[in-house]
Amino acid sequence: MAFINLQNVTYKYPLTKTPVLQNINLQVNEGEFIAVVGPNGAGKSTLCYTLAGFVPHFFKGEISGSVEVAGRESSKSTLDEWVRNVGLAFQNPFNQISGAKYTVFEEIAFGLENNGVPREEIKPRVEEALSLTDISDLADRSPYSLSGGQQQRVALTSILVMRPKLLVLDEPTSQMDPIGTREVFGVVRKMAEGGMTVVMVEHKMEWIAQFADRVIALQDGKILLEGKPNELLTSDLLSENGFGISRYTSTAREAKKQGLWKSEKLPVTLDEAAEGFKP
């Protein structure tokens, strides 16, 4: 049975007139790395909140259909049970800092303390997580003194340290430079290889193409397309519907019109583009 199983999920915030998610059906296997793309307002964040249990346990409103993760039904669980299996990091890193901790090290330990992990275990787990995301050198800094990209790494680390079964990331690299972004994708891939299921909202197509197993394209609260990164991300439907596409795809598409791109398949990444342009 699928690890994530969404059946006909429709959801409306208390203040919205039309549903923000409409008839979403989605099955994800354990250890799969799913990327979610879509224009602003498509409902990506709302989908993340739904997977992480905050819809409907935190945001009220009307939900129908069923949300199942690891064999449990969201509406039949409490939020604090749910978050033990599902970790969520979102876009604005500043608001994810607990505000109760003095150093990055303590900030990352916060979730473990809350869940009653014994003291002897907390330190090694925090150290391991810090080195995983390569921020051991920030351990003694105040979380507020960091740059946006560094804060995003801290936010991601504070979730990873809790070893969730399902990791939900809503634009976790929005403030990172290309090197940071690459590293985050690498870490996430590694977690998926280790059996963690990942759902990640991202706009950076070239990285999605290299690291994700499957892409979901969301528009107006519906799943427009779903498929392998290389097929989906070069689809004409995406660019026609106002999705961002990789600059390599758009370059090659232009080149194709002028007969400079020979291959049938369009590229998403730099490597694919370089390969295709070889004489």
Binding site: Y49, A52, F54, F58, L79, D80, V83, R84, G87, L88, A89, F90, N92, F94, N95, Q96, I97, S98, G99, A100, K101, Y102, F105, E106, A109, F110, G111, L112, E113, N114, N115, G116, V117, P118, R119, I122, K123, V126, R141, S142, Y144, S145, A155, S158, I159, M162
Partner: protein, 259 residues
């Protein structure tokens, strides 16, 4: 943004090693005794012979004296002037200004009250300087204070300086769009209105996101919380707490007995 947004100074000292609750009780007892004690010089003695030595014992004397000059002295000075001029007691006039008399009695009363204020602020300054905010939170929740309640206290201590920084940013941004914040008071009062929206509404959205973020990290989890740092709570802590409570009770008893 600067590195130090909470008041805590990380050092190793006798005061740092006390249990957070012991330090709260210490600060409260100093304040209570200075208020309740019937003896005129109690607050002065407490300030010079308890607070100042404690700041050395806590190895935070430099930070303490800095805040004494920036905060405690102005606050106490203000109270002193108000009381000296407006307290309508006594008739040994020393000094007259328009219709205001400064009498020997009002002067001595003002000196006493302002020193009490200084003691009060000093005691809590020392407490904040030497107490790790998250240790305080862990210790209080371990003793049964609801975590939500503890969180409000701790995060307020940390978030206030951020709100100040943010207000500055918003003012700078609005000013660059032509907002007048520098001319006369009334003009300024009117032009402050556009700042309220972003500050308050921005904060509400932030509060919601922050609530989600800490909830996602098990903040309301039913398990018994643990803590990264071992929180000291030795036998001497317990003894100190009881002695302090006894001292407070004694000074209350003395006050009642003498009146």
């Amino acid at each position: 943004m600067h590195e130090r947004l909470s008041y805590y100074v990380k050092r190793d000292s006798a005061l740092h090693r006390l249990n957070p609750l012991t330090k709260i009780i210490l600060a409260l007892s100093i304040v209570l005794v200075s208020i309740v004690s019937p003896w005129y010089w109690t607050a002065h003695i407490l300030l010079l012979l308890v607070i100042v030595p404690l700041s050395f014992a806590g190895r935070v004397s430099r930070e303490y004296f800095t805040s004494a000059i920036r905060l405690i002295l102005p606050a106490a000075g203000f109270i002193f002037l108000m009381q000296a001029f407006f307290q309508p007691i006594g008739n040994t006039v020393i000094f007259k200004y328009l219709f205001l008399d400064v009498t020997q009695e009002s002067l001595s009363f003002a000196f006493r009250i302002s020193t009490r204020i200084a003691v009060m602020i000093s005691a809590f300054t020392l407490f904040l300087l030497t107490t790790h905010p998250s240790e305080l939170m862990s210790d209080l929740t371990r003793r049964g204070l609801p975590p939500q309640f503890a969180y409000v206290i701790i995060s307020t201590l940390q978030i206030l300086p951020q709100m100040q920084a943010k207000a500055q940013t918003i003012i700078a941004a609005q000013r660059s769009r032509g907002l007048d914040t520098e001319s006369t008071f009334f003009k300024r009062a009117g032009s402050v209105v556009p700042l309220v929206g972003p500050l308050v509404f921005g904060s509400l959205v932030e509060v919601e996101e922050r609530a989600i973020a800490i909830e996602a990290r098990g903040f309301t989890s039913k398990s018994i919380k643990t803590s990264l740092h071992e929180i000291p709570d030795s036998l001497s802590d317990k003894i100190i707490r009881w002695v302090l409570i006894l001292l407070v009770l004694l000074s209350i008893a003395l006050k009642i007995w003498l009146s």
